[in-house]
Structure formats: C-alpha cells, structure tokens
Amino acid sequence: MNPFNYERAHDITSAVTLLSRAPRGAFLAGGTNLVDLMKLGVATPDTLIDIRRVTSDQIEELPDGGLRIGAAVLNSSLAADRTIRQRYPVLAQALLSGASGQLRNLATVGGNVLQRTRCAYFQDVTTPCNKRKPGSGCPARAGYNRDLAILGTSQACVATHPSDMAVALVALDAVVRTQGPRGSRTIPLAALHRLPGETPEHETVLERGELITAIDIPALPYATSSSYRKVRDRASYAFALVSVAAALDVVDGVVRDARIALGGVAPKPWRATQAEAALRGKPATKQHFRAAAEAELAAAQPLSENAFKIPLARNVIASTLLDLLKESVQ
C-alpha cells in the first residue's frame, strides 16, 4: 500500500475543502472497498479524508412521505430499519443480499453507490484495464467475462456495477444529495453513474471533492409490494450474476405501474425503462411479464462467456413479477 496522510474531517464543509486541497486524495467512509483497492494497488490516494462522522447517520421522514437517508447510515442499519422494511421491502432485501454481516456493519450508504467494479482485470494491476489505466486495453472481451455486463457496455469496458442496494434505489427513483466546492445539488441516482463509452475511468458525474451527503427516496405506496431477487454462484456472500429489483402496481388484473431495475448486467444500476413501458396498461400475466423482459433485453450484447445472462435475466424478471402478483392477490 502506498503511504498516505490521514485527516479526519469535522464537518461537511471542511471535508470538501480538505479534499479540494488534495488532488490525489480520497474520502474514506466504511473503507470496505477503498482499503481493499489500496491493498491491491488499484487505488493509490496520498491523502485520506475520513468522513465517517461528517454526514448524517439518521433516516428521516420527508414531508412528501418519502425518506432521507444520511450518507453515513450503515448498510446494516438501513436494512434493519422498520420503516424501510415496511415501505420498501425491495431495499431491505437488496441490502441483505449484499456482502456479509461484517461488511454491512462497516459499509455506508454513500460509499455503497460509489463502490468500484469487481471485474478481475480492474482489480489485477498486472493486467491492462481501460478503467484503471485509460488506453491500456480490455482483456475481458476475449478473456474471463462470465460475470460481466450485457447492457450499456462499450468497446472500452464491459465491467458491471457491483451494488445490490443501488439497484433497489434506482428502481425507487432515489435522488442523491451532494455538497461540493461549488455548492450543493441533487442528482437522480439514475443519472449519477456514467456509461463507460470511450472513458470508462469516469464512473460518475460527481466533481472533484463533491461529497454525497444523503439519499432521498420518494414516497411510492405500492412499493410495499416489491422485492429483490439475486442469482449468484453460491447461496450467500457473492456478487450477482443477475439481480432484479421490482415493484408492481396491479389494479383489476392490469398493470397500472411497475418499477424494474437490474443488477449484475450493466456498468450502472440499470433501470429497465423499456420493460416498464412495455408493461404499463397490459394484463398482469406471465406472458406479458416475459415480453416486457424481452423488450428490455433486446439491446443486450453478450460476450463470449455470459450469453446465459439474457435468458437468466428474462426468467428472473418474469418470476419476480409473478411472485409479486401472487402476493398482491392473496
């Protein structure tokens, strides 16, 4: 690990100022991803600004019936929160599907959405990787790509975003609140991450020194009928091959509205807008659920080892929606 200076920020403003003065510095929160990447030599900050205490660790009610989640709320605390479990079960399930009990006790909400891909080439400094070293190439296209993306990829990069929590949040229309050197702003979570294009090293729209302070979830009454399903190589403690966050609003057998997002298949938490559009106003049947999934996956571009993700995603979308339908008619 490279040597670094450690500074603890005392409030949001000082955190932003400290990082603005450290061009090769980084914010440190739970550290579960950053410290690992520093050990691997993938991340080499010369300064760590500890922000674990500067943003809120509370979950607050918003006037519109939504919730504001402080960026320092632990993944485990968020998953255990009674309001989250009642109003947004998809979010509690996504959190509980991710990592391990130990990691969830360290990882923060703000850090979770900013975690880096687990692509093997990104994490191995002895191999080329356009994301880690721009212009060096992408061995994944012709190499080990079973875990990698089928949607939103580019010639330069086929990495997946690894978060489960962010998949649920993007389905819920979550909004990220930030403070940076130029003030504060809000960014829809769906617009936080960039697709790789020619510049996979630029992963988000955040500016240098911009700190996530909270994430807002708008009210969504039918999210009480929502769930997260994750398919992986072992029963627990593994990243998703495919995951689906879904919420379903069915009235008289017709889909009034639906929220669908996918994990494990794209460089960002993937909101399945095509599938949602295909479902609205249609009869809530297995056939239409499958057709909606196929509408989303029509753009999929499989690699040499991951074509299985297309039928897998289709089936998991359809079965998740079908389970929600059964639950709603009970």
């Binding site: 550290g31 760590l48 255990a80 391990s100």
Partner: protein, 178 residues
C-alpha cells in the same frame, strides 16, 4: 507516515505509534500481540479477522486502526470472563466445531455479533417475514447470517449446531454481550 494513536481493546487503553497504513488487524496482531484475530485472505472475504467494534462484528482487515481510536474493540481474547469461557467458546468445544481452528476466533466473534443482531430483530435475506419482531434462528438463518465466515475444513456441520445451541439457550450473560 507514523501517527500516535489510542486503541481501546478488551477493556484496556493502548497508546501506539503506527503507520497510517496499519489495519486494525495488524495493529492487534503485530503491535498488541493479540493473535486471536487471524489473517486469512486479508481482503474481507473469509471472516477470520472478525472482531467486535462497539459491539458490532466487522472485518478488522479492512479497517484502518487510525480511524477507530474512539471505538471499543473486543477480540476473541476478550470474550471469556476470567476462567469461564464465553458460552459460544464452550459450545464450539462441546460440538467439536472446528478442525484446524484457524477460522474459529473469527467464527466465534462473528456469532457473538450475529446473536446480538438477531436479538435486536434484524432480519436476514432468508427471513420469511421481513417485518416480524422476533427472529427464529433456524439452521437456514444461522447459515445465511454466518456466510461471511469461511471454514476451509468445512466444520460447518458442527458450527451450526454449536451456534444454534447458544441461540436456543439464550444463555449469554448480559455483561458479555458486547
């Protein structure tokens, strides 16, 4: 760069001068001589380094010592009450819940934290009713909640009953629920 830091471990306050790069795991093992927490993968994937930080189980290999000076750390060395083993330590012995023993300190610290989480009503991904107040720690729940601790000897068949016995007996004295 070196910094003077303070760590509170198993009820004792220690003053150290450490490189900022030192993980809590290395501080415990190399500076304080507490070799209970083990370095398995050193990447947060095996759980052998699990300790309790303010009562919560965490991977000490992914935490920087400098960042946790105000926390109370409990390692496997701090679980027994003088000569009396912690109920989970006793249960692991009685159930022969290990072979080589390398993962055991992490398994036990993780189980202590896990039982506290379950008692606080925290659900897991296999909990059928997410909104239930009471968690029934059956074998599926224990396996899921302990999935962050790998045992390469595959002593799981005895680890699960050892933890279940303690969960069922509710016999953890309050003072050791850290």
């Amino acid at each position: 760069m070196n910094l003077p830091i303070t760590l509170q471990v198993n009820g004792v306050t220690h003053q150290l001068s450490i490189d900022t790069r030192t993980t809590l795991l290395d501080a415990l093992r190399e500076h304080l001589g507490l070799t209970g927490p083990k370095k398995g993968c050193d990447h947060g994937q095996c759980g052998a380094c699990t300790v309790l930080l303010d009562g919560k189980r965490v991977n000490s290999c992914l935490t920087l010592a400098v960042a946790y000076q105000d926390a109370e750390v409990v390692t496997i060395e701090g679980l027994a009450d003088d000569e009396r083993l912690h109920p989970l330590q006793q249960a692991f012995i009685e159930h022969d819940a290990f072979q080589c023993g390398y993962c055991t300190p992490g398994q036990i610290c993780s189980a202590v934290g896990m039982l506290n989480e379950a008692e606080a009503g925290w659900p897991s991904v296999v909990t059928t009713d997410l909104t239930a107040d009471h968690i029934d720690l059956n074998d599926d729940e224990i396996r899921e909640r302990m999935s962050g601790n790998l045992c390469r000897c595959a002593a799981y068949a005895n680890i699960v009953p050892a933890i279940r016995e303690v969960a069922e007996s509710q016999s953890i004295p309050q003072e050791t629920r850290r």
